[in-house]
Amino acid sequence: MSALAAKLVAMALAAEGGTQIALDATGSSAGPGVGGIIVGLELLDWDGDPRLELLIARELGLTIADVRDDGSLAVLAQVPRATSRTLAWCLAPARAVNGARQSLLTLRDDGALQRHSAGAEPIEAARIAGLSLPAGVFPFPFARDLDGDGDADFALPAAGGLKLWFVGADGKAKQGPLVRHRINVTLDLPEPEDGYPEIGAAISIPNFDVEDQNGDGHPDLVFESEEHLQFFWTAANGALPEAPTLDIDLGELKAKLAPASGGMLDPANLFKALAGQVSADVRDFDGDRHADLLLRQGSKVSLFPGTRDGIDRSKAVQVLKVSGNLLDAFAFDDDKDGKQDLCLLQVADVSIGQVLLWVIVGGTLEFDLFTYRQEATLRFGKSPAKRRRLQVKLPALLGIADEFEENQTLERLADEFARQPVGLDLDGDGARGDVAQLRPDGTIALFRGKPALPEAHDASLAALRQSLVARFDAAAKGEDTLKVGLLDLVEWVPTPGAALRTAIAGREPAATLATPDPSAQRTDATSTERHTDRLLIAADLDGDGKDDLLLLDQEPLTVEWFKGT
């Protein structure tokens, strides 16, 4: 399709408007499927045909419905909540079925874990004792292939951590180890004296990784929380061990480091408190496909080599001690020789007096990044091969709130972060070369393009460090010292969607879809509030190979479907 033809198609889309999907958002009538107010939506492939189906989560249960071309819904399956306080749901590949077909897994507060598949009665995959989940109907992605057999296994909260369940060939789940994973619950209880009494409960369970860490081709399990790291590496036969292969209790290490300060600050150097910090990075640093351990304990950095069977923490292959305030230690191929180098980030001493001066007149905060080259396998130079010095100019802290409030860059970045562009394939050629951008007024700007655009944003800490070093080098132009204002530093942080934004920068949209969001037009709203709350979703809903756009409006809840034709 030529660019002109594509533009005409998009214009035609705009003229026609979207198709309203027939959701009973209020829950006031029975509507299709189970009743109640809608509390969640998801797309899935329920029956294996090219079309996607819509999962509608309501207070009274779950409905899976086919979305017809006119936006009406045909109910395919229902899972009532019944008397359960909790109905958590999760999508997983259907067992023993090739392709993208998915099953719906549900978890209730009585511990019943059920698998619902198209054309089959629900089966109870497991019954979990002592399950502690909040009330409500909500998505909870607890199913994942933990052992590489193609079946979705389960990781579920239990007293003391996460209990792993492995699904066997018979479809039944068998108990695996209990991982000491942090489960954070925050309760905000009302007090009689509160002017505005509130009550709140929040649960947060950190995620975990499934990746091959010991180079045997089998997935290993990586659980990292603030205080504890646990790694389960598969044996030669691919079986996961009951006990962690590597267990690093950062809290315990930290307690051993705790300075005998009696809670007192050092007025001459507030960063002395960093001497009590502990962190660990477990990755392959020497290219032998076995993860190694980089352990920071205060001002000491130790390296432990990994083998196929684990990491021996009794003997470090190298130990470095720094005299300054060590803020971070990480591995990164700084000299681009294909080998990871060791980078140590330090911050200069700051006295209480300096902080008081920052309050009234501002000042400078100085960081040094030292690179130690990997000279032999997991052997780093004894002295740094490179030093970068970043001097951050701080404005007077007394007025910093105003500076933040008035900073245009911050406003732009926050805006970009809130509404990220979405890559599309509108012509069905298999390449996502088109871009849809939700505007502050709630309309969609559509940009056409041919070659596929990069979409993935690496949000890892390693990528962030790498990006910051690159920004330093670009700005410093070969110098080893760079001065930069605090607010200018904000620009250094990579934001998701940056590649797509670059692709459409300065271009006029080929078409504009949807009507403006009235809630973003309010004259009494602050500038922050004059931004739409709409959500833009890209998916090939009708299975014609061309991406469609769904525009979700939350008040009242409506979904408008713009078909890619």
């Binding site: 209880l189 929040a202 007096g353 939700l438 931004h531």
Partner: protein, 531 residues
């Protein structure tokens, strides 16, 4: 236990202080919470402490002895079952004293502290779908919403702590705030009965409402259970967290504001309206009543414009005439202001009030930080205003000269009502940077208690070297702060928090020091010499 007569370094002997009994309660770990309540109803306030040890959430009780001491070891303790979300206190059973109430997602249980353990002790008092519905494995909080809703007892937050006699226990049942009363049954036993309930407001599903602003931009924190529930796995315009958690979910309710607005001991429901408050009676319904909505407003109270956006409002009798006045603090701008507005009964509405539009008193202070508070320092029924200010003087912009100034000012409550134009007295300190190693400790200050029983509260402070000092405030026009401390002592450990209570109800203030892993209590000895 140590009988501790507080030393007096002053050369001129001031009036004698009563002897105090020092008790030290070792908790053993840093993270702990405490409550003070008269558990066994002997007019001596006891100490309840919750903490986590070896994965177990412990609730421990130290009973105050007749000699004003606390024992070294806890008198009673309980490892809370994993499904307990919070604990409270209420006299709900025939056993002596108040019972510990254990709250779970499925109901309430009582437990007497006159017996150990759960076996044969735990009684189910209520079956209901309570919120919060999740326990915090790292914390056992106290549920303090015990209020005298119907005004038949000794009022909100009675002097003997949480769960005072006459209080109702308010719990969130489903999505309603339910008022539970202890009712005697025909067979002589007691039971908890729901007397009324009001629906709680749930923040709307929009990510826009209640959003936080990041600079002037459009970043909005999505509420969990709203936007995060929509197409979470799809390609979408809304950002995902950098590392999406396995599970993240938050639920929150705004509760009806129950408050003794009319000063008649029973509570009213006070709701915000556009320009003021809607006030309606929080009537406790007959026992057979069912869930009802918030009653129709019966009075509208118009707030002065200057009070409408205030972060802190106090509806309080400021001059002892049994009429409430409005006091508001606005400390968000460059000038930190306290305003006092007179009010009078509304002839058109007995539940309402007419608040004057211009303040009868206004205090404005500059500074990096100003914290206002209200006390009746000289016990004359008129509310005094205190202000703690922190400032870094802007003219001193070198390391050699920079300093942190702290001041504590007392503005006396006067007829009008108004406050004295200038502080009756001020307590000022200047810190050089090298003196700020114990900065947090050095800024502790408390004027909440009368230690010598002369009818005027005394000032407790900590010094740079960690010493705790008490200075007398003497009555007169104006109030005066004595220059020399009447008491100066080195606490057994650095002090994190400094509080005053009347722990044995003898009208003499007692002192509690919170340390990193312990508490030290100084309780006046009832009937001791020196009074």
């Amino acid at each position: 236990m140590l009988l501790f007569a507080l030393p007096d370094p002053a050369s001129t002997p001031p009036p004698e202080l009563p002897p105090f009994v020092e008790s030290r309660v070792e908790i053993g770990i840093e993270d702990f919470e405490y409550q003070l309540a008269d558990v066994d109803l002997d007019s001596r306030v006891d100490l309840l402490v919750t903490s986590v040890a070896n994965g177990e959430r412990m609730l421990r009780l130290w009973r105050q002895r007749a000699d004003s001491s606390f024992p070294t070891a806890a008198d009673w303790q309980l490892a809370a079952p994993p499904d307990v979300t919070a604990y409270s206190l209420l006299d709900v059973r025939s056993e002596p004293g108040r019972e510990v109430i254990l709250m779970t997602r499925s109901g309430l249980y009582s437990l007497t502290t006159t017996r150990d353990g759960l076996q044969g002790n735990l009684h189910r008092e209520l079956t209901a779908a309570l919120f919060p519905d999740l326990p915090d494995p790292q914390r056992l909080p106290c549920w303090r919403l015990t209020l005298d809703v119907d005004g038949d007892g000794d009022g909100i937050g009675g002097s003997d702590g949480v769960g005072s006699s006459g209080d109702e226990l308010c719990v969130v049942d489903g999505t309603s705030l339910s008022v539970l009363s202890v009712v005697a049954a025909a067979d002589g036993t007691t039971k908890l009965v729901s007397r009324n309930s009001w629906r709680c407001r749930e923040p709307g599903p929009s990510v826009g409402k209640g959003s936080i602003s990041f600079g002037g931009g459009g970043f909005r924190a999505a509420r969990f259970g709203s936007a995060a529930s929509y197409f979470a796995a799809a390609r979408r315009s809304q950002p995902q967290p950098f590392v999406p958690p396995l599970l993240e979910r938050r639920k929150r309710f705004d509760l009806p504001r129950l408050f003794d607005f009319c000063g008649d001991s029973s509570l009213e429901i006070v709701e915000d309206s556009g320009d003021g408050w809607q006030v309606s009676a929080a009537a406790v319904l007959p026992l057979d009543a069912v869930t009802s909505p918030i009653p129709n407003p019966t009075a509208h109270v118009t707030l002065p414009p200057a009070a409408r956006d205030s972060a802190a409002s106090h509806w309080i009798d400021a001059d002892g005439d049994r009429q409430r006045e409005l006091i508001v603090f606005d400390t968000s701008g460059d000038d930190k202001i306290a305003l006092l507005f007179k009010a009078s009964p509304d002839p058109a509405s007995p539940m309402g009030a007419l608040i004057e539009q211009t303040p009868s008193a206004r205090v404005k202070l500059g500074g990096m930080s100003v914290e206002y508070a209200l006390h009746d320092i000289d016990h004359d029924g008129r509310i005094d205003l205190t202000a703690r200010t922190l400032e870094v003087p802007t003219g001193l912009s070198t390391l050699a000269t920079v300093r942190l100034d702290m001041a504590f000012h007392v503005f006396r409550g006067q007829p009008g009502p108004t406050w004295s134009k200038a502080p009756d007295f001020s307590w000022e300190r200047t810190f050089r940077p090298e003196q700020l190693g114990r900065v947090q400790e050095s800024l502790l200050i408390n004027l909440g208690g009368d230690f010598d029983g002369d009818g005027v509260n005394d000032l407790v402070t900590t010094q740079l070297d960690g010493r705790v000092e008490i200075r007398r405030v003497t009555k007169g026009e104006p109030l005066e702060l004595e220059k020399r401390p009447v008491v100066s002592f080195e606490p057994p450990a650095p002090v994190d928090r400094l509080e005053t209570f009347d722990l044995n109800l003898d009208r003499v203030a007692d002192l509690m020091l919170r340390h990193e892993r312990a508490l030290t209590l100084f309780v006046s000895r009832v009937g001791g010499s020196g009074r």
